[in-house]
């Protein structure tokens, strides 16, 4: 479960501050100012002592004097940053007034702010309060991001499992419907055949949706592995076009293709790229009115070795303001398939993830006349 950060006022009492100054008087003055706020304090009189104390005290903020015998404040800060990296508490330098070089160097060494001497109690408290609050907020944010990414991983595992478990029975339903339709267990009358056809078509489209869910779960969980090998992109596209034309014929649309001469060979995962081309083509068929022509074009890119796959349709195009939604998970546009086909809203998201895994890009644009163009650009060496 994800718990959002509480909106209660941020509690500063009990937060730990390490004060480092070789001047005992300064330590006492700062200590006096800060105690009133309820901070827990530790004091060090040198950079070396500060480094030791930091390891055991683990402060949430460090006040660090610049001029000290032994290692100075800047060096102490650099060592803290080196040893603790991102987890290092914010460092605020203590400087004499008007030493702007110190301020610049201090910020360069990794400090977040500086306190000018002589100290003004109200200013000191206000500055520390604001840094502490920032730090607490960023801790809460980190925690939240951590929780969210765990929840997201759990969602993907769940998606994958659910889809897995749905796949087998669906495949059986489809197959068993085929046996019935073929008359494997005796002849059927036309009404029975019609019902069986409906069961078959429904299980088929559910299987496709489940497969898309599985793809997303696999990709999101980082299990998408490319099996790269040289592939003739034109040949691959031509195969996809031949297959999709059977679907297209049912809707009285046609898919034509234009291939580059000489042929383009790229090192890609052919099966995954086929999935991208199939998806773009089937989308084009889904959203195109009867009688229209869809064109798939493979062409060499302007940069040698790169390649484009273009799919142009004569459908309604992408509605104004909906282009951002196109490639996102589970997003559907306001336009509807022309033949009542199903959509999970995942197809293009999967395409984008596969293309990006090849270090390529995918974009969509409306064409000046009508319809739109999807353009996949693949680099020479994914």
């Amino acid at each position: 479960m994800v718990t959002p950060p509480t909106s209660a006022p941020i509690q500063l009492a009990g937060r730990k501050i390490l004060i480092v100054d070789d001047d005992r008087l300064n330590l006492r003055i700062l200590g006096g100012i800060l105690k009133g706020e309820g901070y827990v304090l530790a004091e060090a009189d040198s950079g070396e002592r500060a480094l030791e104390l930091y390891a055991t005290f683990r402060p949430e903020l460090v006040l660090l004097d610049v001029m000290m015998p032994g290692i100075d404040g800047f060096e102490t800060c650099r060592r803290l940053k080196r040893d603790y990296g991102d987890k290092c508490a914010p460092v605020i330098f203590i400087t004499a007034k008007n030493e702007s070089d110190d301020v610049v160097e201090g910020l360069g060494a990794g400090g977040v702010d500086y306190l000018p001497k002589p100290f003004k109690p109200k200013e000191v408290l206000a500055r520390l309060r604001s840094h502490m609050q920032n730090q607490i907020l960023s801790e809460q944010q980190k925690l939240l991001v951590e929780q969210l990414s765990k929840a997201d991983a759990a969602k993907n595992r769940f998606l994958g499992m659910a889809a897995h478990d749905l796949r087998n029975p669906l495949a059986s339903i489809r197959g068993l419907a085929e046996f019935l339709r073929e008359g494997a267990v005796g002849p059927l009358n036309p009404d029975q055949i019609e019902l069986i056809e409906t069961i078959h078509a429904a299980s088929q489209s559910m299987l496709e949706m489940v497969n898309e869910l599985l793809d997303v779960a696999t990709i999101e969980s980082g299990e998408l592995k490319l099996h790269l090998e040289p592939c003739n992109l034109g040949e691959l596209t031509a195969k996809c076009v031949t297959l999709i034309n059977m679907e297209a014929a049912k809707k009285k649309t046609h898919v034509a293709y234009e291939l580059p001469a000489p042929p383009v060979t790229l090192v890609i995962d052919a099966a995954k790229m086929k999935q991208v081309i199939d998806n773009l083509l089937s989308n084009a068929v889904k959203y195109s009115p009867p009688g229209s022509t869809i064109t798939a074009i493979v062409q060499a890119g302007a940069t040698p070795g790169t390649c484009h796959i273009l799919v142009r349709d004569q459908g309604p195009g992408i509605p104004e303001g909906e282009r951002d939604k196109l490639f996102k998970d589970f997003s559907r546009l306001s336009i509807k398939p022309t033949g009542g086909e199903n959509s999970t809203g995942l197809g293009l998201a999967i395409c984008r993830k596969i293309v990006e895994a090849h270090r390529g890009t995918i974009v969509a644009e409306n064409l000046p006349s009508r319809g739109c163009e999807f353009r996949v650009t693949l680099p020479a060496n994914p």
Binding site: A171, S172, G175, L176, F179
Partner: protein, 128 residues
């Protein structure tokens, strides 16, 4: 399919047993016995002594890998072909190392399953 021996089909899902048995029947293999879990598979194997076992990988309690181990202990020469859904590489490798003859995906279209069953089974018995 040229294979005419007896097949033991093991799967916990009744719909899969029905489906695969219909495919086998269409391929001309009438001698089929079934088991719904690993323990039943061992018992049926001992009683019927089939020529070939088609064994599901994912089953509750005793899974396909465990059942395969027991079958091989019982009869090192038994021929087992694993039935899997979305190819799970690691499990398949494990099964092959344990002596499974091959594997078949049962979540592909009917014609593909039929083709895979026929060629894989015939190849196991040098009948192709």
């Amino acid at each position: 399919m040229n294979f005419t021996g007896m097949i033991l089909l093991v799967d916990d899902e009744p719909h899969i047993r029905k489906y695969v048995s219909l495919i086998l029947k269409q391929l001309g293999s009438p001698r089929l016995v079934e088991a719904a879990n690993g323990e039943e598979a061992i018992a049926v194997y001992q009683r019927e002594n089939p020529d070939l076992v088609l064994l599901d990988v994912n089953m509750p309690k005793m899974d396909g890998i465990e059942t395969l181990k027991r079958l091989k202990e019982l009869d090192p020469k038994c021929v087992v072909i694993m039935l899997t859904s979305l190819a799970n590489r690691e499990t398949i490798v494990q099964a092959l190392e344990l002596g499974a003859a091959n594997y078949i995906r049962k979540d592909t279209p009917k014609e593909e399953i039929a083709q895979a069953l026929s060629s894989t089974i015939d190849a196991c018995f040098d009948l192709s």
